[in-house]
């Protein structure tokens, strides 16, 4: 019995270790290269040097934000996959990210954030995400069976509709808002506001903690709703709570970093291969490796055509989109 616990602990250490290595690597690399052996002395020397401010004012916030967003999106992916019993659903493919982005751009265009404060941005992202998740789910269950292709198609269409609406807002809005909205639709970890970074970190940690109260229910749901019911799970209530959680995670991520697609698809896909289906280990593994994955993608995005910078969504989009097509054409879908 404790053999299993030990195995899990080893996986957590491995994923945590990889995350740490990627973070340190990302700290050292960039337009101005700081050798790894310099990092530690720089910390000791303290503030004042240019290198110190590059590390702690430019790179570290991005790494911390990458940790929060990558973890949150990956976790949202695992939760949604567990509920819909399909490895291809995640915040982006279901259109939830699009809904959140729409919520955020409405907020910017109407200037709600000027009145309600910067924290109203994640809240409007959450509301947009929740709305889409409710639409997608009610459409998918209307015939009592989850038809997965229809579900994904609905998600793609919702993404289309919301990006069209965002474009409409862009056409109608003032030029000063335009930059802000474009930034959100592309997805980037460059976030000058420390408060939003802190919110993102808090929300993602909150998400991983809360998700553990659902680990057995998610395990039961992976057999199907009726079977979960047979195992004594109140499926209706559980689903509602999980939708709420997935919406908070996605909405907040999108509000802070914009649409970063496929993190919740790529990461759980590979993590499952290593640790299996049990959500007790899957949740934390997906969280840690999602964080590592996004930090790595962001490092690539800002170094690949340095000194110019790509939006990180470009990298995850190319990787994730290819994997999505591969997984879709593969006959046997694992899960």
């Amino acid at each position: 019995m404790n053999k299993r616990l030990i195995r899990w602990a080893i996986w957590v250490l491995i994923f945590g270790g990889i995350l740490l290595i990627i973070s340190i690597f990302s700290l050292g690399i960039g337009a101005s290269r700081i050798p790894f052996h310099r990092i530690f002395p720089l910390i000791l020397e303290g503030k004042g040097t240019t290198e110190y401010s590059i590390l702690f004012d430019i790179r570290l916030p991005r790494i911390i934000l990458g940790f929060a967003i990558g973890g949150a999106l990956s976790l949202a992916g695992v939760i949604l996959q567990g509920m819909f019993r399909n490895p291809l659903v995640e915040p982006y493919t279901l259109g939830i990210s699009g809904g959140a982005a729409l919520g955020v751009s409405i907020n910017i265009v109407l200037g709600i954030n000027l009145i309600g404060g910067i924290l109203s941005i994640p809240v409007s992202g959450f509301l947009g995400a929740l709305l889409v998740i409710l639409i997608v789910y009610s459409l998918s269950t209307r015939k009592a069976v989850l038809k997965i292709h229809g579900l994904l198609l609905t998600g793609v269409m919702i993404s289309f509709i919301s990006s069209s609406l965002i474009m409409l807002f862009m056409a109608l809005s003032h030029t000063e808002d335009l930059h802000g909205i474009i930034f959100w639709t592309m997805g980037s970890l460059e976030e000058p506001n420390w408060l939003l970074i802190k919110v993102a970190v808090l929300v993602s940690i909150f998400g991983i903690v809360v998700s553990y109260f659902f680990c057995f229910r998610l395990n039961a749901l992976s057999l199907g709703e009726e079977e979960a019911q047979h195992l004594g799970i109140n499926t209706e209530r559980t689903k509602r709570q999980l939708f709420f959680l997935a919406s908070i995670l996605t909405g907040c991520s999108v509000a802070v970093a914009g649409i970063i697609g496929f993190v919740g698809l790529v990461v759980p896909h590979f993590v499952r291969m290593f640790v299996g289906q049990d959500h007790r280990i899957l949740l934390i593994s997906a969280f840690l490796s999602g964080a590592g994955f996004l930090i790595l993608c962001d490092t690539l995005a800002r170094t690949i055509i340095s000194p110019l910078e790509l939006p990180v969504g470009v990298i995850t989009g190319i990787l994730g989109g290819s994997l999505f097509i591969y997984a879709l054409t593969k006959k046997k879908v694992v899960l």
């Binding site: 680990c215 039961a220 009726e226 019911q229 047979h230 049990d278 694992v334 899960l335």
Partner: protein
């Protein structure tokens, strides 16, 4: 009268356009009940009503003196386990799959299985002869083995009442008998009350104490195999000509089918004799 564990009173349940109507029956502790009836007669719907998947429109379901809709799902799952017909199969080992049956028994902040949980899972696997395949993946074992793993998972819930939905479909006769012999053994040795949906009338006749014949959403007849399985009843419900005799082995009712060709040949012979 206290040994009645399940009491179904005036139940109306289902979803458009199919409804169960005026269902009344009760199940005593230790009984082995077979639910039979043509396709679409409401057998599976009845099971789904008992397991709280379908909400009753009218009437009530009393389990052990309590209305099941007033019981917590978790508490019901400690008493009633289900072996569904088309269960979701997740990518996990047989042992992990069987252990899912312990979920209703976990305490609020329990994170790992206790030794007791593992012991119970092992016992259930040994009982169903799935212990030897405990490390194989559920998606990769044969249909018969999967059925056994499902039963093991249900037993892991330590239920008083076991519900099965056509546990023998898609299995060869050896596996059919294997499964039903196992269920019979559980019924006899552990005192487990069993309600199982069966398609095969002869298997139902051999194994069940009581049969519940469903027809168009209603209970057409309930009673011992001898009472339910006579040619008039079967022809009335299934609209098919059959001959009912006694099994030479168990002297339970045995149904012989009559093909269309045979029926015509006999009709002709009869006409010839008449003329």
């Amino acid at each position: 009268m206290n040994n009645i564990i399940l009491d179904v009173k005036d139940l109306v349940s289902g979803y458009d356009p199919f409804f169960l109507k005026e269902i009344n029956f009760s199940v005593k502790k230790g009984e082995f009940i077979g639910v039979i009836g043509p396709n679409g007669s409401g057998k599976t719907t009845l099971l789904r009503a008992i397991t709280k998947v379908l909400k009753p429109k009218e009437g009530e379901l009393i389990y052990g003196g309590e209305n099941i809709w007033q019981m917590k799902s978790q508490n019901l799952a400690k008493k009633v386990a289900v072996v569904a017909q088309n269960p979701g199969i997740s990518f996990m080992t047989v042992e992990d799959f069987v252990l899912l049956g312990r979920i209703p028994h976990y305490k609020k902040f329990q994170f790992m299985e206790t030794k007791r949980d593992l012991d119970i899972a092992k016992r259930c696997m040994v009982l169903t002869d799935t212990f030897r395949i405990r490390d194989q993946y559920v998606g990769e074992i044969s249909g018969g083995e999967r059925q056994l793993a499902l039963i093991a998972r249900a037993l892991c819930q330590e239920p008083e009442l076991l519900l099965l939905d056509e546990p023998t479909t898609h299995l060869d006769i050896a596996h059919q008998l294997g499964i039903l012999d196992l269920i019979k053994k559980l019924n006899k040795d552990l005192g487990l009350t069993v309600i199982t949906v069966l398609h095969d009338l002869n298997l139902a006749s051999e194994y069940c104490h009581k049969l519940l014949l469903m027809h168009e959403g209603r209970v057409y007849k309930m009673g011992s195999p001898e009472e339910v399985l006579n040619y008039k009843v079967i022809e009335g419900v299934y609209k098919t000509v059959v001959v009912v005799d006694k099994s030479p082995v168990s002297s339970k009712p045995y149904i012989f089918i009559v093909t269309e060709e045979e029926r015509q040949r006999r009709a002709k012979t009869k006409k010839n004799i008449d003329s």
